[in-house]
């Protein structure tokens, strides 16, 4: 049995099947980008697994702060940055809506109605947007 498996591993058929296994999902993912509207130099791609779209999709990022700091479990967070390691694991979202959602999540889980929230967003086209509100 083992001998037969070894023979199969060394056969061109195995190599061919393995290449298919590797190529088909990746080419499909790449083609899906075009099907979902990506046009080189005209339209941005979307997130598609296995299409190698790192740094290609349109993003907007924000910094999120709570004043005074909120308490989540045993941790006190004055900003979303405090929740994770600043390098490599930094917690981020691709749109301001995600930050707004976490701001509310933090308010409900560990804030008070008088906790102030500050969101500063870096938007497409080099724009910057600042917003401040109370947890309520």
């Amino acid at each position: 049995m083992l001998k037969k498996l070894k023979q199969f591993y060394n056969s061109p058929l195995f190599v061919f099947l393995f290449i298919l296994l590797l190529v088909v999902p990746q080419l499909y993912a790449f083609a899906l980008q075009f099907a979902e509207g990506f046009v080189p130099f005209k339209h941005e791609p979307e997130r598609v697994h296995l299409s190698w779209d790192m740094f290609s999709t349109k993003i907007e990022r924000c910094t999120l702060n709570w004043y005074p700091a909120i308490t989540l479990g045993t941790e006190r967070l004055s900003s979303l940055r405090d929740a994770s390691l600043p390098l490599e694991w930094d917690l981020t979202f691709d749109a301001p809506l995600g930050y707004r959602y976490v701001a509310d999540l933090g308010c409900h889980a560990g804030g008070t109605p008088s906790t102030k929230v500050n969101i500063k967003c870096f938007l497409q086209g080099g724009k910057i947007f600042n917003d401040e509100f109370l947890c309520n």
Partner: protein
Amino acid sequence: MMNFFVTSSLEFRKWTEKTTSNKFLIYFRIAFASIWLVYDLIDASTSETLKFIWFYRLPGTSNIILGLQILLIIFEFALLLGWRPRAAAFGAFLARSCLCHFVTLNDFFYFSVMALLLSICDTSGSPRKPREVLAWPRDLLILQTGWIYFASAILKMNPAFLSGSDLFVRHNYEISILPFYYPEFYRSFVSTLWGNSILSWGAVVFELSLGLTLFCWFLFPKQRMKLHYFALALAIAIHVYAAYGLNVFFFGASMVAQVVLLSKE
């Protein structure tokens, strides 16, 4: 037409029978396992992925995630030590693929594909006593690397990236969370759209060149030495910049190891 298929299948058969020394494959196995072992040890001990699950409200329980991370650490240790490396790589592929179900990071997809490829490579033994092994798994690793750079460069050819908007967002976000991370001249350079646009075009040109260089490495065996050094220079330039400028360390280190070690004959 018939002739084309016959010739192609003969060439394909010849390619599957070619052999190479496994010295640099062993080095790559060690480098890959070390890089991702460090990643997973930090990740599991500081619960970073678990925080992702909580903040992003992703499906998945902490016990499952932690279990998968422990499995990954075990498989990466085995891969590092060369203990049943094929089985360890396949185990790592399965564990990371399961983790991808909960956290859909490109880094995790990359790891899964590479671990699957390593599971068909003969990387057993020591680099001091290399053996002749089949060359096609190593060639596939190179072609896969080339495809990652090529596809990534093509998808970056879009208005948001090339105009500098995306890099503006990323850089200025980094500046606001880590105010002293960049030197003053770089801070003022990346606070402009045109500065980010130059960097974006540079990234696309470099990635596309690296992808094509790796395809050429496969197609023109006689030029491999020259192409190796060219690929090495491009990979270092891309990933040193991405690590420092864009806060991506482990993926870059793994890609550099891949280009440096696998394209060496």
